[in-house]
Symmetry: C2
Subunit: 204 residues, 2 copies
């Protein structure tokens, strides 16, 4: 196989993935089928099958791409102040979720491919999570290791809940931007000074 042909094949895969993303954004996870993606890309179903095998293969590829986009959205901030960097990362997370609700739901909604923690896509997901944990670590006085994972889980849950309530449209405050900033203020304050997580190994 020549380099030229490898490139061409890679380009076909990328074009199919882009078509799949178009279907996802338009029709949601349920709409992502080999047939629908083939139709969107104007190729035969066999071409899609050849590269992604089935719906699950499409979902994993789409989830991996979405997680990479989310990682970029979180990691783009280069503010010198660690709390501002954390804020910027959380804002980037929220923006991604609000701009791409179907992609967000695919990665974190019911039936998420991240459930299988041994899968390659779960490793990509864990890398995003670890980025959040590092940002939290850099902010302050948390004890190392297990606690920054606890803290990252709590932060992730809190911002996940905030953005999904916003996506659904059932928030009870007048200004979702302000409420999100208030959440970040509470999290930063809580994580920095007031929060001491008991070591789970020492709990009874």
């Amino acid at each position: 196989m020549t380099p030229r042909r490898r490139t061409a094949s890679h380009q076909v895969s990328a074009a199919l993935l882009t078509a799949a993303e178009t279907v996802l954004d338009r029709d949601g996870t349920d709409g992502v089928t080999v047939r629908a993606v083939a139709h969107e890309a104007a190729v035969s179903p066999m071409s899609v099958y050849h590269r992604f095998v089935n719906k699950e293969g499409l979902v994993v590829a789409l989830a991996t791409r979405a997680l990479e986009e989310l990682a970029t959205a979180i990691g783009a901030a280069d503010d010198a102040d660690s709390a501002e960097r954390f804020r910027a990362a959380c804002r980037g997370y929220r923006e991604f979720a609000l701009r791409h609700p179907a992609r967000y739901s695919l990665i974190f909604g019911v039936g998420s491919p991240l459930r299988d923690q041994s899968s390659a896509v779960a490793v990509t997901g864990r890398a995003v999570f670890d980025t959040l944990a590092t940002l939290i670590d850099q902010m302050g006085s948390l004890p190392p290791q297990s606690d920054s994972v606890e803290a990252a889980q709590i932060v992730w849950g809190a911002i996940h809940g905030a953005v999904t309530i916003e996506q659904v449209g059932i928030g009870q405050t007048p200004d979702a931007d302000a409420t999100f900033e208030n959440l970040l203020t509470l999290l930063i304050g809580g994580l920095r000074d007031r929060w001491a997580v008991p070591d789970p190994r020492q709990q009874d």
Copy 2:
């Protein structure tokens, strides 16, 4: 109409609603149709139609019942200590969500009937929210009114995110119970002492 006949009619409605809840728990929101509920209750579709009109009527009735259950789960605690009462309420919330994922998704998931804020079911939802705000108010030094609503929204978002991540099965910590308790500790600490929400009317 005699009292006896009113009671009988009410009992039929209650039996149909229980059948609808069985369908919801088994098949999710998508499965709740006039036909499916009629089949479950072993009555004619016309009987269901007569009381609930359509799928939307069933969803609203189920959401109202679920919100009442959630209110009970939150409000059952009578601990003298306000922080313990808050913890118990949040634990009750989590238990409801984990025990009844389909009901939880119906009220707070995509397509939630609470989106229409002028509807009767949204008033029921708001009452649950206000219970949470009152519990937060009782805990401490928050300024009154607008701020306890902000605080309740933040708390709701945080626990909503925690329980939905748990429902989907994509949490990154080994002990979900411990992580939820750590979340509550962070929220209580943050709400009590460290958090001052700017008045939105004074923001530029």
